[in-house]
């Protein structure tokens, strides 16, 4: 299993949280609201493409709609391997950030 980088991790996390409603706008929105920062769509979509390629997320194309200028929505759903990857990322983080190290970081 391949490790996620930070952007991928955030995006995959958002896709997981948004469940049925994960597509470009909502994903970006969600990340911004939760973390206060995000990325242009270009970066977002290259992360999504990567996740898709790794098999962590699956894309479905919805019908085009007029308020999107006649363009369709790409919905993403997390896959079981994606969930596993998120878990792995969390494990890595908890392994790093033990209480001791958090305290030490705050002091420094």
């Amino acid at each position: 299993m391949k490790d996620l980088n930070l952007t991928e991790e955030m995006v995959l996390w958002a896709v997981w949280r948004l469940k049925d409603n994960a597509y470009g706008v909502t994903i970006r929105d969600h990340i911004v609201r939760k973390t206060g920062r995000c990325c242009p769509y270009g970066t977002l979509y290259s992360a999504l493409a990567k996740l898709e390629k790794l098999g962590y997320a699956r894309k479905t194309v919805a019908d085009p709609s007029p308020w999107r200028g006649g363009r369709s929505r790409n919905y993403y759903r997390i896959t079981p391997t994606g969930v596993a990857a998120l878990k792995a990322a969390l494990e890595l983080k908890t392994a790093l950030w033990t209480k001791d190290s958090v305290l030490a970081l705050e002091k420094s």
Binding site: Y23, G24, R28, D29, T43, W67, R68, G69
Partner: protein, 887 residues
């Protein structure tokens, strides 16, 4: 959120987004941006949302572009791979396709270079557009003459009478061949001309030493070109040094050196002597045409309007002299209607002299506008055939790829991509052909330059319109050839294209292909036919009975240098068995003859008749084998023959209206003639062609040779061991002249030189027509290969059902042969028309026999059959097992 779109994003940014994000993923992104824009507009107001939209699109642009470019490169790589793989798979086909087009382009460029060079003549002179040569347009009983030689007083009179004339200069254009000496160096120089002082201020030659305005001002001065100056004086400044013309025993002072003149000039000279002070320059007679006259008009003066003032001018100037000489008023004699005698002057632009064939001027290396047109037509046709070929073959090749198109479509290619792919591939081929063509041109250009006798250089390709032309051709051909598959194949649904190669079998396509083949072979027919006509005309030139014997005659130039020892020289020669006859003369057939007015005894002065005139000795007729029509030739036994006898040709007798010319008398106008002296016609020679077959035989008079007129000695020898004979003549010459240079030529070659222009055109035409046919046949071969492959299955089935190889070969080639036959028939009429137009420029024309049509068609059919039959037979001979498995 799912409310209808109520706000419009900024137009420009939206367009930008659409242009860059228009496929797959990007489309979704664009959709996201649009959606977010709508939301923001609803929440924060339209203005803020629009600002955000603009900023956002700008921010995303770089990454969109990177994405776009990287995908394009990937696809390009794929296209290239496919293209190269296909080229590799059919190497012969690819070679035929590219080489054919390259050959066509190379042809067109070579001829284009030649045409551009020919049209560049004399344009290097500043103010060239205002310089004109005045030519004489006259008519008398002998016929019409448009000659470049004009009367000596003309230039001065024009300058005096017309303020429009800014400058005028005269030139004595006969290139003399004289022995020149400076210090201890003596050399024969050929390109010797004489000109007025104003010559160098009118024409833009570059002076290295000396002063352009005054160089030829005084008599006895000469201006040299750099090459000639270095030959005599080395590299220093020779102004003020002395140059001696040995033939005239006169000294000349060098007053200037000019840079070697550009080769694209109608005037070729190595030395320009001052015309001032020569008897020719001092001439005052208006009916003595012997000099070129050039004038430069003031800016803004119309040449046409100026020309219209010339008849009145001629009458004013020539009238009094005419009256004094003939007792007739000018207006009573000249200008009596269209058919009457006429004496006029007209202008031809300096830049047009080189290609103007209507005015006779016997300049060497004269161009020919009609040959140029012919060549340009051939160039166009070869290129045209090559282009058609390229399109035909490309189309055939692309048609094989309907499956690829189908597959690409299934995999998501959009039509635009397919169009770009095919156009690009076709362009790749045509650009390769262009590069190949440039290589070929650089290789053959020197040889072509020698053939055309023009200094053509490769660098010229990068000047003028050539780069644009070449790029234009490559682009046009590439796009045109690619457009069929690009727009036609790409328009079908993937289902249809994958199913089969239906597109190729479409009726429209076959019709187009047949049409193109038809056009190709019609053009080929015309070109082969034209070559045939030129060859026949050359045959006529070479083999027509000229009325004299030109073989094995050695002509010694400057023979008068022998002086008093001439008789001893000739006796020494005639003592050898291989030397048959010797004769002295002023000129010989194929060389220049002067013409002068002659008046019969008892006729009024107005009936003076212009006759070509030359001086010959009594052995002349024998040496050339000229038969007499009446009377006798000059005889050494009759003393009066040396002074008061003349011989004329049949044409002269006819023009003069003499039924029994022997014994009639002309006023004597040569030697030490007193008024009232006459010369008697003692003989009439049968007409012979003393001039090129371009012109009809003119009336001619032969006068007895006096030492002062003697220039040439002709020696008739036996045909074998020619070089020994020549060596002997040269040795004897050296003995008697004290080592004077020996220059000689052969009469048949001199005469042949008159048709140099036709010979060159014929050879160039021949080469390029062969190329045209070759290219057309390459195309045919390619097409038949293609169609044979298409019909593999059919052939296999036919074979199983009992068809023989021969009948199958017939089946495959029949269509093509029928097409070629139709093409030949269709092209006959235009080819005949063109050939007749070309032949019009000759007084003596080859006939065009029906046989020529038949043989041309036969040649064409044979070539076509050979190129088709080989391929067809190979296909037909294949085992049905192989052919049936093919699809």
């Amino acid at each position: 959120m799912d409310s209808p779109a109520s706000f419009r994003p900024p137009r420009l940014a939206e367009r930008l987004l659409e242009a860059t994000a228009n496929d797959g993923e990007s489309s979704a992104i664009a959709g996201d941006i649009a959606e977010e824009f709508q939301r923001r507009a609803a929440e924060e107001g339209a203005g803020k949302a629009r600002r955000w939209y603009r900023l956002f699109v700008l921010q995303s642009l770089p990454s969109f572009l990177r994405h776009f470019v990287s995908w394009s490169l990937t696809m390009l790589k794929n296209y290239l791979t496919i293209a190269l793989r296909l080229m590799n798979r059919h190497p012969a086909f690819t070679f035929i396709n590219i080489a054919g087009l390259a050959a066509g382009m190379a042809c067109a460029v070579l001829i284009g270079l030649f045409v551009v060079h020919e049209r560049s003549f004399d344009r290097f002179h500043e103010k060239a557009d205002r310089i004109f040569r005045v030519y004489a347009d006259t008519r008398d009983d002998g016929g019409m003459f448009r000659v470049a030689w004009t009367a000596p007083p003309l230039a001065g009179a024009l300058r005096e009478d017309f303020p429009e004339v800014e400058a005028a200069a005269r030139l004595s254009p006969w290139p003399r061949e004289w022995l020149l000496a400076a210090g201890d160096k003596s050399l024969i120089e050929k390109d010797i001309l004489f000109a007025d002082a104003s010559f160098f201020s009118m024409f833009s030659y570059v002076f290295l030493y000396g002063d352009r305005e005054t160089a030829l001002e005084s008599p006895g001065t000469v201006v040299l070109t750099r090459t000639v100056a270095e030959r005599f004086f080395g590299t220093g400044d020779p102004v003020g040094r002395t140059l001696t013309i040995r033939d005239l025993k006169r000294d000349y002072r060098v007053t200037g050196v000019i840079e070697d003149p550009p080769l694209n000039s109608h005037l070729r000279f190595g030395l320009m002597f001052s015309l001032i002070g020569t008897s020719q320059a001092a001439g005052t007679r208006w009916n003595n045409n012997s000099l070129f006259t050039y004038i430069r008009l003031r800016p803004g003066v119309s040449a046409g309007a100026f020309e219209e003032k010339l008849p009145a001018f001629t009458k004013r100037r020539y009238g009094p002299q005419f009256f004094a000489e003939t007792g007739k008023r000018y207006e009573d004699y000249f200008d009596q209607g269209a058919e009457g005698p006429h004496h006029g002057y007209r202008l031809e632009p300096l830049t047009g002299i080189h290609l103007n064939a209507r005015v006779t001027d016997t300049l060497s290396l004269k161009g020919s506008a009609s040959h140029l047109k012919l060549l340009a037509a051939v160039a166009f046709f070869v290129l045209f055939i090559a282009c058609i070929n390229f399109m035909n073959l490309s189309t055939a090749r692309f048609a094989h790829r309907s499956r690829e198109v189908g597959l690409r479509k299934v995999l998501g290619s959009r039509r635009g991509q397919l169009i770009a792919q095919f156009l690009g591939e076709s362009l790749l081929l045509s650009l390769t052909a262009l590069v190949l063509a440039l290589g070929v041109i650089s290789l053959v250009l020197p040889a072509f330059g020698r053939l055309a006798q023009r200094p053509l250089v490769f660098a010229d390709i990068f000047a003028g319109g050539f780069p644009a032309l070449l790029a234009g051709i490559a682009l046009f051909v590439g796009l045109a050839a690619g457009s069929y598959p690009a727009f036609f194949l790409s328009s079908f649904s993937p289902q249809a294209t994958i199913k089969g190669r239906f597109a190729v079998r479409g009726k429209g396509h076959a019709l187009l292909r047949r049409g193109l083949v038809l056009v190709q072979f019609a053009v080929s027919f015309a070109v082969i036919f034209g070559t045939g006509v030129i060859a026949r005309q050359m045959d006529l030139f070479n083999n027509r009975a000229l009325g004299f014997d030109r073989d094995h005659v050695i002509v010694i130039n400057r023979a008068n240098m022998l002086g008093a020892s001439a008789t001893a020289f000739e006796e020494d020669l005639l003592a050898r068995p291989e030397i048959l006859r010797v004769s002295r003369s002023e000129s010989l057939p194929g060389r220049h003859f002067d013409s002068t007015g002659h008046l019969l005894e008892g006729r009024p002065a107005t009936e003076e008749q212009t006759l070509m005139m030359t001086y010959v000795d009594e052995r002349f007729a024998g040496l050339l084998g000229l038969p007499l029509a009446a009377g006798r030739f000059f005889s050494p036994e009759i003393p009066t023959d040396k002074t008061s006898a003349v011989v004329i040709n049949e044409k002269a007798a006819k023009v003069l209206g003499l039924s029994n010319p022997i014994g009639t008398r002309f006023h004597k106008t040569f030697g030490e003639a007193q008024p009232g002296e006459f010369v008697t016609v003692v003989g009439v020679l049968k007409d012979f062609h003393f001039d090129s077959l371009h012109r009809e035989i003119l009336p001619m008079i032969f006068r007895p040779l006096a030492p002062g007129n003697w220039r040439l000695t002709s020696v008739k020898v036996r045909g074998e061991r020619l070089s020994d004979t020549l060596a002997f003549i040269q040795k004897t010459w050296s003995t008697y002249t004290g080592g004077q240079p020996f220059t000689y030529s052969f009469l048949d070659q001199d005469f042949g030189a008159l048709y140099e222009s036709e010979r060159r055109a014929g050879r160039i035409f021949g080469i390029f027509s062969a190329l045209a046919v070759l290219v057309a046949c390459l195309g045919l071969y390619g097409l038949i290969s293609f169609s044979a492959e298409q019909r593999m299955m059919e052939i296999g089935i036919r074979k199983i059902l009992g068809a023989s190889t021969a009948s199958l070969t017939g089946l495959l080639s029949r269509e093509v042969l029928v097409l070629v036959g139709i093409a030949a028939a269709a092209a006959s009429a235009p080819a005949l028309f063109l050939a007749q137009a070309w032949l019009k420029s000759f007084a003596y024309r080859a006939s065009i026999s029906p046989l020529l049509f038949v043989s041309t068609a036969a040649v064409l059919l044979l070539i076509a059959f050979l190129s088709v039959a080989y391929r067809a037979a190979r296909t037909a001979a294949q085992s049905p097992v192989v052919t049936l498995r093919h699809e």
